[in-house]
């Protein structure tokens, strides 16, 4: 049928806008970088970007169901501390370690999901509380920074592939293909969108509401743990840093918003959130290449974020019944 593309464009508008905005920003950055866009510059940028992008994907899954996960940063920190202890030794031991870290992430997500669904508590409160618990466990595992990680694996995933392509980008692509796309195309994933868009309508349509939410929280935990692993591969150490956890949680929300995912739920995509994360990182890098005082960085990131949120609110100008503004 002709005209399909215009509907597809409409459906993926947020994601496409995020992509275009990122490409524009990154082009400006690359063109003004003193060393030009060489493989090392790209790899460093990619590693930083991918780390936030994975956390943003984790956040997206929960936000789509019109929840919010304030524990993603802490799950990442917990995974980081755990990985710095167990992803060591022989290849088999390291592999088992990776598996254990991922299982812990799944369990963290499952705990969140269980409390939110069956305890009927608000996601925001639940995940603040569980986030504190996860951080406490991380602190118990690693009271002082340290530890080690299997370096061959770490370097392979954070280094460059032949041709100078950052390996981390391939990892991210793999995650999109293996985690996000199947979720997006599954009945459960569709149910997650439905729940976020209109929970009553979803119920009336016989959609598996609880399963959708539970899977969203679990996958969120899994992805956050993957981010923790990746952080360990970049830094070679584990550190129970509350500041780090909180920063990533808040940045992940910023990335989700920049990536065109609606905080009301039901609309947007993890791919958008990935570009949102890249964009958020590029803002910082841009300030660096233009020699802006690092002190100004939060201010500019804040301005860009506010502008993005304002764009999202334009639709409110068309509301004809003022009560709808408060719905």
């Amino acid at each position: 049928m002709s005209g399909d593309w215009s509907y597809r464009l409409r459906e993926h508008k947020g994601t496409l806008l995020a992509f275009v905005a990122f490409v524009v920003m990154f082009t400006i950055y690359a063109a003004n970088h003193p060393a030009g866009l060489n493989a090392n510059v790209a790899t460093t940028a990619a590693n930083k970007g991918v780390l936030l992008a994975i956390v943003a994907m984790a956040q997206t899954l929960v936000v789509l169901t019109s929840g919010i996960d304030l524990s993603v940063g802490m799950v990442m920190v917990l995974a980081n501390c755990l990985a710095s202890s167990i992803v060591v030794g022989s290849p088999v031991q390291a592999a088992l370690g990776v598996l254990a870290v991922l299982v812990v992430g799944l369990v963290c997500g499952a705990i969140n999901g269980f409390i939110v669904i069956y305890g009927r508590l608000q996601p925001i409160v639940t995940t603040i509380a569980t986030g504190a618990i996860f951080y406490g466990v991380a602190l118990g595992l690693r009271p002082v920074p340290g530890g080690d990680v299997e370096t061959t694996l770490a370097d392979a995933l954070t280094g460059q592939l032949p041709g100078g392509i950052p390996a981390s980008l391939v990892v991210l692509l793999g995650l999109v293909l293996v985690v996000w796309l199947p979720f997006r195309r599954s009945v459960t994933g569709r149910a997650a969108y439905a729940v976020g868009s209109s929970e009553v309508a979803a119920y009336m349509s016989g959609v598996p509401i609880r399963r959708a939410k539970f899977v969203a929280y679990m996958l969120s935990g899994l992805l956050a743990a993957l981010a923790g692993l990746f952080l360990t591969f970049i830094t070679y150490t584990g550190e129970a840093s509350a500041a780090n956890g909180n920063t990533y949680t808040l940045y992940s929300i910023a990335a989700v918003v920049l990536g065109g995912v609606s905080l009301f739920g039901g609309s947007g995509s993890a791919v958008g959130a990935i570009f949102g994360a890249f964009m958020f990182r590029t803002i910082g890098d841009l300030l660096f290449v233009f020699n802006v005082e690092p002190l100004w960085q939060p201010l500019f990131q804040g301005i860009v974020l506010s502008a993005a949120v304002c764009l999202g609110a334009v639709r409110l100008l068309h509301v004809r019944n003022r009560l709808d503004l408060y719905g």
Partner: protein
């Protein structure tokens, strides 16, 4: 043997009986119309059939075997699909996603978009809506188009029984015509259709059998065409009078400037050229079926709606009411008692005192500081005046009974001594005793010089309380009933638009050019 039989079904919501010993028998290849007033129990019956609520008593028999539906999915699986009045579509998903949502076609465990697309196209074509693009987002569609998608969605489940609850109320004339054709074809294919509508001409056109509901009971079933419209209305009314209304004050016909006058008020397609006048001391009722624009009219007067056209005059002077804060100013003195006291009227966790003084804080404070003594005095005066049964004024509003909560909502506005009082179905879900107190209060306020505009879904109330009743239909005032003309019978037949030829005229007008 009937395809589906419901017998002796009862359902209570708290103290309110929604259904009592109701029954219905549905045949394959027939269209069965269900009729009844607002709150007669039709919606509850459908919800039971669709597995949304569980009955307290009674049984359902499908194909001769007893069945029960613990969830909407279970009813679906049994072949019952329901098109609800409140749309069940998910706004952020595409039309195709929505049509396939209950059971999307899958390949290797993932949704097969190609197959889903074909399924959606077929369903849309069957619903006579093949001009809706399957990839369009539902939130971008008009209400009428969404309703067509809703019908396609129900058809995609290949139901044996299709229930349509006011399915045409949001449709444009062009879509209504299509739907008639579709429904007749489905009947010919052997589906059983249950059709709920307030529009008598639709029932005449479509129905094979009819069942009338009244006060939660199924009072009569008959073959279509064997009863006159008047007989049907009689059956729909048939309820006992149990409320006591205060005597009306005689109003000398006066040419005094009306306190509130409206000229040619319009808002989107929901309010259509409304003009009315309310004088001091008058109680004016708004009647008609649910959702004919009464709520929007009250909201428009209170300044909640954007983009209204027409004129509002207070004491003969034109004013533009920009919002509730403007409406409550002394020179206008308007108050709106909202429909949903729990979300729009009260802050349930806050205290009785805080709730009562909220709207009037400006008058109870000096330099922005609330005077505790003035507040206490005013609150206690209202609590006494309305006889609110509460354990002191510091308990949360949510701890009071429904009737007493409603008194708080009214009391909060009485603190401002409003001159113009707009009420949106204020007695819904409250007990008879409180209702009577409410009627006394309305009359007392009117006698003290207030102008009252009163929307109610309870026809008894309109008959008992109002000096005049404006019956609304499709966003316009269809008929005005004055004094002795206000009878339940007149209210019902004018709400159903019987006798007037305006229905057909309106349909003709809305055919798109």
């Amino acid at each position: 043997m009937s395809l589906f039989v419901i017998e002796g079904v009862s359902k209570r919501y708290g103290g309110v009986r929604a259904l009592q010993d109701a029954g219905l028998a549905i045949e394959a290849g027939r269209i069965h119309a269900v009729l009844g007033e607002n709150g007669a129990g039709k919606s509850t019956l459908i919800k039971i059939m669709a597995g949304v609520v569980a009955p307290d008593e009674g049984r359902m028999i499908l194909d001769g075997a007893p069945v029960s539906f613990p969830s909407p999915a279970a009813a679906n699986a049994a072949g019952i699909a329901c098109i609800f009045q409140e749309l069940s579509l998910i706004p952020d998903l595409t039309v195709a996603d929505n049509i396939a949502i209950s059971n999307p076609p899958r390949r290797f465990g993932l949704i097969d978009r190609g197959a889903q697309r074909r399924l959606a196209e077929q369903a849309l074509a069957r619903a006579g809506a093949d001009n809706i693009h399957p990839l369009a987002l539902v939130k971008d569609l008009s209400l009428s188009r969404r309703q067509m998608v809703e019908i396609a969605k129900a058809l995609a489940r290949k139901p044996r029984i299709l229930i349509l609850d006011e399915a045409t109320s949001a449709l444009t004339a062009a879509d209504v015509t299509k739907i008639y054709g579709v429904l007749k074809r489905l009947r010919a294919e052997g589906l059983a259709l249950v059709y709920i509508s307030h529009r008598m001409h639709e029932i005449t056109e479509l129905a094979d059998e009819c069942t009338v509901f009244c006060n939660g009971r199924s009072v009569a079933s008959y073959a279509a065409g064997t009863k006159t419209d008047n007989e049907v209305v009689e059956m729909m009314i048939g309820r006992e009078y149990n409320a006591v209304f205060p005597p009306r004050t005689a109003h000398p016909a006066s040419d005094a400037t009306p306190m509130l006058a409206v000229r040619n008020l319009c808002w989107t397609d929901r309010l259509n050229d409304i003009s009315l006048r309310v004088r001091a001391g008058e109680v004016i009722g708004l009647g008609g079926l649910d959702g004919q624009g009464q709520r929007e009219l009250l909201l428009a007067l209170f300044g909640v709606l954007r983009g209204t056209t027409g004129e509002v005059l207070i004491d003969g002077r034109p004013v533009t009411i920009a919002g509730p804060d403007f409406a409550k100013r002394k020179e206008i003195g308007m108050a709106l008692i909202p429909e949903d006291r729990k979300t729009e009227g009260l802050m349930l966790p806050m205290s009785v005192r805080e709730n009562l003084s909220f709207a009037a804080l400006g008058r109870l404070s000096r330099w922005g500081v609330v005077s505790a003594s003035a507040e206490r005095e005013a609150v206690e005066r209202i609590v006494r005046l309305l006889a609110v049964r509460t354990d002191g004024t510091d308990v949360p509003a949510g701890s009071l009974s429904g009737g007493n909560q409603q008194k708080l909502v009214i009391g909060k506005w009485l603190m401002l001594a409003p001159r113009i009082l707009l009420l949106n179905d204020p007695t819904r879900g409250i007990d008879v005793g409180t209702k009577q107190e409410m009627y006394q209060l309305l009359r007392q306020l009117a006698d003290e010089g207030a102008a009252i505009l009163f929307y109610s879904t309870d026809y008894d109330e309109l008959v008992g309380c109002c000096d005049r009743v404006l019956v609304m239909c499709d966003g316009a005032i269809g008929r005005e009933l004055v004094g002795a003309e206000i009878t339940e019978r007149a209210l019902v037949s004018s709400a159903l638009n019987l006798g007037a030829q305006s229905t057909t005229r309106r349909v003709a007008q809305t055919v798109p050019t």
